[in-house]
């Protein structure tokens, strides 16, 4: 018998050659035009790092839930939106009284607390109402539920707070630039990156050093055995959602320092991108989320201009979603386990 033509493999090889050519040729051509100075590249890079840090923190929510339940919590972006949008009203009230600029640090702490608590509450309710009854159901079922829940949450908050885009009040001391190693960097970007590092490190300590962290890892390994070992599985799962919610709420306050606006649909794209980051780093892995977030953020900020300008494509930044979704597709095709995960045939 003649061996069947390996169509899939041929498509994949052609695809990877095309992409490699595009990236290299585009980069060379862009650099040759000399339109961008080193300072331009550095500012794009730092913007990417800041944005990537936010993705990384949101991605932790996907990774934690996936690591324990093996479902994609599609509504996680809405958990992020809920806290951030609610905290907006606190920020607005504080700004109205002048407190926000007079006492910026206590105000920021208050915003973090409000945002995290609201996001946590939404995440816990989501788990209780939408996911818990479906444990053990076929895969498609919780996924469709999650899509429904995402839509429901978006429009609930649209109903609550209105459909218009609101401008988050600025904090004066976070405006302007600082000079680091000879390059001028926006203060907000520095704050966001440091904040994200603190959040990530706290989570890492929780997972590695606390009893709850150990319980979470055990439930992720094998739910039944963990239950036999005396772990309260339900409580551990709720805690996982709660931690993911707290992180999403905190990430929201970081996010608005960069992007300054909130509205009911704001959770969708950061959610998808954070998911991409989680997949890129290897879903289920805490370090993977951090690396995936940073890589995605930097590629998104630098990529369109670096790869596409050289081809003379007008307004390359419009094509930025293609970079992020393209990365997602490529990672899933070539390395479904993520950059750092083990390729797992069964899971992918």
């Amino acid at each position: 018998m003649i061996e069947r033509l390996p169509v899939r493999r041929i498509i994949l090889i052609v695809l990877s050659l095309l992409i490699a050519y595009g990236v290299i040729a585009g980069t060379v051509a862009t650099l040759q035009t000399g339109r961008f100075s080193t300072a331009d590249w550095v500012s794009l890079f730092t913007a990417g790092v800041a944005r990537g840090s936010v993705y990384a923190i949101i991605a932790l929510g996907y990774t934690l839930v996936y690591g324990i339940l093996f479902i994609i919590n599609f509504a996680h972006g809405e958990v992020f939106m809920a806290g951030t949008f609610t905290a907006f009203f606190i920020a607005q009230a504080l700004a109205g009284q002048g407190i926000l600029n007079e006492y910026p640090i206590p105000s920021l702490v208050l915003l973090f607390v409000v945002s995290s608590v609201v996001s946590m509450a939404v995440a816990v309710i989501l788990e209780r109402v939408a996911y818990r009854p479906l444990r053990g159901a076929p895969r498609l079922v919780p996924l469709i539920t999650a899509i429904g829940a995402a839509l429901f949450l978006q429009y609930t908050f649209r109903g609550f707070y209105g459909a218009q885009v609101r401008a988050y009040p600025n904090i004066d001391i976070l405006q302007g630039n600082v000079t680091i190693a000879g390059f001028s960097v926006q203060k907000a970007q520095v704050l966001v990156t440091i904040g994200a590092i603190i959040l990530w490190f706290s989570l890492y300590m929780v997972i590695e050093r606390t009893k709850l962290g150990r319980a979470m890892r055990a439930v992720g390994e094998d739910r039944e055995i963990a239950a036999l070992m005396g772990i309260n599985v339900d409580r551990t799962i709720v805690s996982t959602f709660a931690i993911g919610g707290v992180l999403a709420g905190a990430a929201g306050i970081l996010f608005v320092q960069l992007f300054n606006s909130v509205f009911f649909f704001m959770g969708f794209f950061p959610g998808i991108k954070a998911f991409t980051a989680a997949v890129l780093g290897g879903i289920g892995s805490i370090s993977g989320a951090a690396v995936g977030g940073l890589v995605l953020g930097i590629l998104e900020a630098v990529g369109p201009i670096l790869f596409l300008t050289g081809f003379g494509i007008p307004s390359p930044n419009q094509l930025q979603p293609i970079i992020s979704f393209g990365i997602l597709v490529l990672v899933l095709i070539f390395r479904p386990g993520g950059l750092f995960g083990v390729p797992d045939e069964e899971r992918a």
């Binding site: 994609i72 009854p133 053990g136 839509l151 109903g159 036999l228 599985v233 419009q318 899933l332």
Partner: protein, 574 residues
């Protein structure tokens, strides 16, 4: 649920929160404009009444641990609690506003207008007794309803449901009756029913139910001369067909248009049903094929594709093509795109596939929107002046043309879907959906059949896109958002994945109703989200289940098969 309150009070609090939620998201205020019985009962008031009735009913039900409450008193307590909660909410919010902390600054819908509806136009202080009384009476009725015989209860439910349907569909029914020259004024008054109308509708529905309780529907039909048991189905189908063909001549253009949209979604639903229902591949980027269809037909037929953006860069071979020549080309293009998207990603497991297809949907939308492809696809404003579908003597842009064309293609796709389901291919899909590894072991080429499902779905989806572009006479990126994918998914899921009649019902309910009930427009997606969650939680096989799919979905439903180890362990560590 651990709580110090008795169960009836808990149920009541939940019932009260439902009303507060509906107020906070603005539904109570928006639905107040819609009459049920014109001048007497508004839709949002009816919602309150039904909610209290349901609360009372639920409180009267025995709880999971087997404790059976006294139905009537439990119902009354629950209703009273719910009503009182709503009353105190109105009072609290009013007091808050008086103190200068206007809740409206945060929650846009908690405003004087909606609070006024909850207090029935009285002062806020009177809201508590009014709502509590209403809640107690309706809760009592709900408890009583639980206690009565099942048959009596079904009469009440049929009467209430018919009343709501008749009232909400009043504008449609009135127009149809006018079209047939039947006097309708005595039944319908503006958007709602008259009192006489309400009585006739309720009495009529209860009477019909009573009649068919005695003689089955099939027997009644069989009594008509010329109808035998064998051809009953055929006769019913023929009658339905004739009615559907006549419909556009009876109703006005607006409703013709709505019917066209419903047909479009049936078409899209049938296509997605092949992918999601038959092959079990969750495709969240179905809009991509819809967009490919719309843009292909636009590029091939539109007169404007030469002139977009003032440039003449579009290839000279395109444009001015007849719709019927361009349509097969469009389907072929979509099928090719289906293969290109499908081939690399189909190895992926279900939930990854969903996200990747979503990504492709967004990539296509981004490309269409970009300045890069603007000379060809028109950027944000899209391609305009897509000619309408030419069909016989009917004048161009007559919505009836699209109705008939879509109707024909729906019938065709419906037939194909049925034949496909029971074919060798359909059985291969079912096997693959149930267990990919086993199917592969049985000699089914999983990749081949997955690509086939994708291509068929793409082809049907592109037909939908082509008709859509011809209908609106433009193809622009605003029409091809993720929400289209989710709408179609909701249509398929509501009707039942894998169920062909389910798609029709899903489209009628999810696409037809919101078009007719314009007050719902704003809440359409809100309700879709709720429906997706509710269906998955309560009835994952959908309204009209496909037998095989239903068995699969309940195979390891934890509700039906409690996990003894987990239940035990959860109890131990408390």
């Amino acid at each position: 649920m651990m709580s110090r309150f008795p169960r009836s009070v808990n149920v009541g609090l939940l019932g009260g929160f439902v009303i507060i939620y509906l107020t906070a998201v603005g539904m109570i205020e928006a639905f107040y404009d819609r009459p049920i019985i014109t001048g007497y009962l508004q839709f949002s008031v009816a919602l309150m009444i039904l909610n209290y009735l349901f609360t009372g009913y639920m409180a009267a039900k025995p709880s999971k641990d087997g404790a059976a409450p006294k139905p009537i008193s439990a119902g009354m307590i629950a209703g009273l609690t719910a009503g009182a909660l709503v009353g105190f909410f109105v009072l609290g919010m009013t007091v808050l506003a008086e103190l200068g902390y206007n809740p409206r600054d945060m929650f846009v819908s908690i405003n004087p207008a909606s609070l006024d509806i909850l207090s029935f136009g009285q002062t806020a202080a009177l809201a508590v007794p009014i709502q509590a009384l209403l809640g107690a009476v309706m809760g009592l009725a709900g408890g009583y309803l639980f206690q009565t015989a099942k048959e009596a209860r079904s009469y009440v439910l049929v009467g209430l449901a018919t009343l709501m349907i008749a009232a909400l569909g009043a504008p449609l029914f009135a127009v149809m009756m006018d079209g047939l020259n039947i006097p309708s004024r005595w039944l319908f008054d503006r958007d709602g029913l008259t009192i006489a109308g309400a009585i006739v509708v309720v009495a009529g529905s209860v009477g019909i139910k009573w009649y068919f309780n005695r003689i089955s529907f099939a027997e009644t039909v069989a009594k008509v001369p010329g109808v035998t048991k064998k051809n009953t189905n055929l006769v019913l189908w023929a009658i339905t067909g004739v009615v559907l063909l006549m419909l556009p001549w009876v109703v006005n253009t607006f409703i013709s248009d709505v019917l066209g949209t419903v047909g479009l979604y049936i078409l899209l639903g049938l296509g997605l049903n092949i992918v999601v229902g038959y092959a079990g591949l969750l495709d969240l980027g179905y809009v991509a094929f819809f967009a490919v269809g719309a843009y292909s037909i636009a590029v091939l037929t539109a007169r404007s594709s030469f002139l977009v953006g003032g440039s003449v860069t579009a290839p000279a071979a395109t444009g001015f093509m007849n719709f019927w020549v361009a349509l097969p080309l469009t389907v072929v293009i979509a099928a090719i795109v289906g293969v290109l998207i499908g081939a690399p990603v189909l190895r992926l497991r279900g939930d990854y596939l969903a996200i990747v297809t979503l990504g492709f949907g967004e990539i296509i939308r981004t490309l269409v929107l970009s300045d890069w492809l603007k000379p060809y696809l028109g950027g944000p404003q899209g391609l305009t002046e897509v000619p309408s579908v030419p069909l016989g003597p009917l004048p161009a842009r007559d919505p009836r043309i699209l109705y008939y064309v879509i109707f024909a293609f729906v019938v065709l796709s419906y037939f194909v879907a049925i034949r496909l389901k029971n074919s060798r291919v359909g059985r291969a899909w079912a096997a693959m959906r149930e267990d990919e590894d086993v199917a592969e072991g049985m000699g089914i080429s999983v990749i081949k059949y997955k690509i086939l499902a994708f291509v068929m779905g793409a082809a049907v989806g592109s037909l939908g896109g082509a008709f859509f572009a011809a209908k609106l006479s433009v193809a622009n990126p605003g029409s091809f958002t993720l929400l289209v994918s989710i709408n179609v998914l909701a249509v398929v899921v509501l009707g039942g994945m894998g169920s062909i009649p389910g798609v029709v019902v899903g489209s009628l309910v999810l696409v037809g109703l919101p078009e007719l009930l314009r007050e719902f427009g704003e809440f359409r997606l809100h309700i879709y989200g709720g429906i997706l969650v509710a269906i998955m939680l309560l009835k994952p096989e959908g309204l009209i289940p496909d037998a095989r799919r239903a068995r699969e979905l309940h195979r390891d439903n934890p509700e039906k098969l409690p996990d003894p180890i987990l239940a035990e362990a959860g109890g131990l560590s408390e």
